[in-house]
């Protein structure tokens, strides 16, 4: 049975889009003054958290596809927020590192970003927030062990 599609009002893909839209709106607003995009912010955050890493790891941790990352890395490099270096042992590979200028962007906005997150935790309630993260992780093909 269940040959019928669920109503679009209870569609999981659509619900994910709308939730994401709700989450990102205040974050995009915060970022608008910096001139960097949401994805660029994400890359900087990953680099800030884990330090220098190769492109493949960076793409994985940032949840970005390679072609996107190529463009984003080029943009961030032009802005002086990251630096790229070739692996001398394997010249196919490349390493990316956040620069002091890039780290500054993170540092100056970490408090405000944390406030936004706190706001959503308050909206949902702490337990619901953790539950939500757990459920979302169950849908992540990369996280299913």
């Amino acid at each position: 049975m269940s040959k019928n599609l669920p109503s679009t009002a209870r569609s999981l893909p659509i619900a994910l889009i709308r939730a994401r839209e709700g989450i990102m709106a205040p974050i995009r607003e915060m970022l608008s003054e910096t001139g960097i995009t949401e994805q660029q912010w994400r890359v900087l955050r990953v680099l800030s958290e884990f330090g220098v890493m190769d492109t493949k790891t960076l793409a994985d941790r940032s949840s970005l596809l390679f072609p996107s990352l190529t463009r984003i890395a080029a943009t961030l490099r032009d802005k002086g927020l990251v630096s790229q270096t070739r692996d001398e042992k394997d010249r196919r590979r490349q390493f990316v590192e956040i620069t002091p200028a890039g780290q500054l962007i993170i540092d100056e906005r970490a408090a405000r970003a944390a406030e936004i997150v706190t706001g959503f935790k308050a909206t949902l309630g702490h337990d619901n927030y953790e539950t939500l993260l757990d459920l979302l992780e169950m849908l992540d093909p990369g996280a299913r062990t």
Copy 2:
């Protein structure tokens, strides 16, 4: 306190992206043979469920921004999957309707799409699935009454 950003591993925006990626992968695979995209599928589904409607309502129900919808509607019209008509009383407004060819695309794949949804329900468990939808709806700015 909590001036520190959460680890990107427990970041809600990133978790939403990854979950969406996990959900959409099999759906995109299903759609690949049709030549229509995920968003075009979404528009057709909304039109199939609710019937003819004006562009504003369609954008709202499809969770698409107006500029995107303009392009998508033009694409679908060129493919003969929807038809557009001007409102004669208010010539700014426009109505969109699914064509038989468009409806056929939905009908031919409704069963397979429903199977995919059923699969995710099984992965999460029915109660978790409903909980997830409820929590996501709490983050949707358009749904907070």
